[in-house]
Symmetry: C2
Subunit: 361 residues, 2 copies
């Protein structure tokens, strides 16, 4: 077992650690120390549970773990699936003395986290992310949600976990397409706040794609450090935390229009980051060479740089339901420079229109 | 229009006023000042909407109010009904710039409040309670929830309203049974923390039952002042706020066993308060004369002092899912004296068993 590194999310009494390392799911002490004494429910999915639930159960030894195994995929991130988790919580007699363990990717973490946020008005949750995307982004920071037919993540809550455990071993079984989707969120940190990390990623991308464990550990740690900083500044996303949504307003529109699950979230975010860069360029904020650099690293990561032709009107309609809309204005995360993003509603709408026409029209 | 009184809930940046008076729903300035500029959705039910939605719409003049009218009754306080509210929120394009107006009794307030708590991870809600129970209790303090087949209010969130407006005119149309149910929660304040108020209630009960507006206004204000104090001390119910649950652990078990909606919440709470008093007496904490006094005021208010015979085993099972359970122990709100309640798990379980056997066995 490699030595684990830890990143702390500093939120006063809601602070918690992210542990990153190899074989951590087999380490009982880590989880036992962070969890309350009452009944525990593991929420996982049909793909992940057969692979990793047995080692979790072994780690917990005699302590009983109830289970709730959901169908796999973004299309199941619904109120109906949430109802299954509530049924399991009632069945397992989980109360405020108990906890939920979310074992899986972003979908499992979001549903299980939201169930924990709302069961008895809030029980503890441990996030045990098993995809790169969940390890670098969705398991950290307390955003939980399910989708509504009207849009992604429209139903949700802020609910910080008690602990996040990112076991690198779980990435061994991750499909290549999902590994690439996770890299989109890793690249995002470079683009919004960390130019040095962007340079590192440009150099080390081949090692990441080859699943070099040391490179992955470093990319996850650096991503979490960046996310920790933004979340600590602004837990409930009234300010700088919204930078983490680079590419997401465009991306959510693509995901919803294509049907939840057709595009992986990371793929849609990658495409959305290209569109944000293009919009920034049309506003004169970003040089053409910088846009090319964005397109290049996304292409090299095996991620899409061409959007589905959902039409300008449909894209506008879906973007209008974005949570960042204020006073009827869609605020966007745009790039003043590489490594320097800004959230703003103060831009020339013609630039956005032109990008939509060029990319999805 | 009588001059309104106001009670302030002091919760730092989440502070808000409760306005109590006659004709307040026709006063546009009150609500407009407290609400954001974006899209508004009124959530009401099929009984209340025809009575009071027109005056609310008139008060808002030109400003558009979208509507979501739910079926009436506790049996509809479900995830499925919540889904209807989410659909209406999406249809009305309510975003973080918008708000929900909950126009109705406790069920409407709880569902609409929970929808507001979780839509886009939290939008503003104005509580416009139209029943005595909602005016003295459920609209104040930020508890929101829907029921699960396993128990009452198991799915919920803490989400403080931006404003509470208790218009006394709405009590004119309240069915007598619901007025009495509301009195159960009023009596509760006397029993848990306000002996002087209990004495006033014993004297003035006839005026309250006759819907004397001045007496009702005073009872609502005094109830809200007591609730405000407990909520300000302990917003998320880790301590003294739990006193507000006097009678609720027993009451929820009765409501769930009888089928949600058969017993009104206030009726079940009244019965639960009798059982809490009986348990306190068996522990030697309360004199027999005090228990008689509890039974008498509840009887005079036209509320039940005999429980349905749901059986000791079923009662125990339902109480075990209570949110106050800690370490497998059901904590109860018990009375050290009239006007002096305590939350505790440290009691002789034989006393509880004996009361269950006597009352529901």
């Amino acid at each position: 077992m490699n030595p684990a590194t830890s990143v702390q999310i500093a939120l006063g009494e809601r602070s918690y650690p992210i542990h990153i390392g190899t074989g951590l799911l087999s380490d009982p002490a880590l989880l036992e120390a962070a969890l309350p004494r009452g009944p525990l429910l593991v929420v996982s999915n049909q793909t992940v549970a057969p692979l990793y639930l047995p080692r979790l159960r072994a780690a917990f030894g005699g302590r009983r773990l109830a289970e709730c195994v959901l169908p796999d995929g973004e299309r199941y991130k619904t109120l109906a699936t949430l109802g299954l988790v509530y049924d399991a919580l009632a069945g397992a007699r989980v109360n405020r003395d108990g906890a939920v363990l979310a074992l899986g990717g972003g979908v499992v973490g979001d549903i299980a986290g939201f169930a924990a946020a709302t069961w008895q008005r809030g029980v503890a949750v441990a996030q045990l992310p098993t995809t790169l995307l969940a390890q670098v982004d969705s398991s950290v920071g307390g955003k939980t949600a399910v989708n509504h037919p009207g849009g992604k993540n429209l139903i949700g809550a802020f609910h910080q976990p008690s602990i996040v455990v990112a076991d690198l071993e779980t990435l061994d079984t991750l499909p290549a397409r999902e590994l690439r989707a996770g890299l989109a969120e890793v690249i995002k940190y470079g683009l919004i706040v960390d130019l040095e990390f962007l340079g590192w990623l440009e150099r080390e991308l081949p090692r990441l794609l080859a699943r070099d464990r040391e490179a992955l550990a470093w990319a996850i740690e650096r991503s979490c450090v960046n996310k920790a900083r933004l979340v600590a500044l602004d837990e409930r996303e009234s300010g700088p935390r919204a930078l983490l949504n680079l590419g997401h307003t465009f991306g959510h529109a693509i995901e919803t229009a294509a049907g939840h699950g057709e595009w992986l979230h990371g793929e849609a975010v990658a495409m959305g980051m290209v569109m944000a860069a293009e919009t920034s360029a049309r506003l004169g904020w970003l040089a053409a060479a910088d846009v090319a650099r964005v397109r290049e690293i996304i292409t090299r990561a095996g991620l899409p740089v061409a959007a589905p032709r959902i039409g300008v009107a449909r894209a506008r309609e879906l973007m209008a339901l974005d949570k960042k809309v204020q006073g009827g204005r869609v605020r966007l995360v745009l790039l003043k420079a590489l490594g320097d993003a800004e959230v703003t509603g103060d831009y020339d709408p013609a630039a956005l229109e032109a990008v939509l026409a060029a990319e999805v029209g």
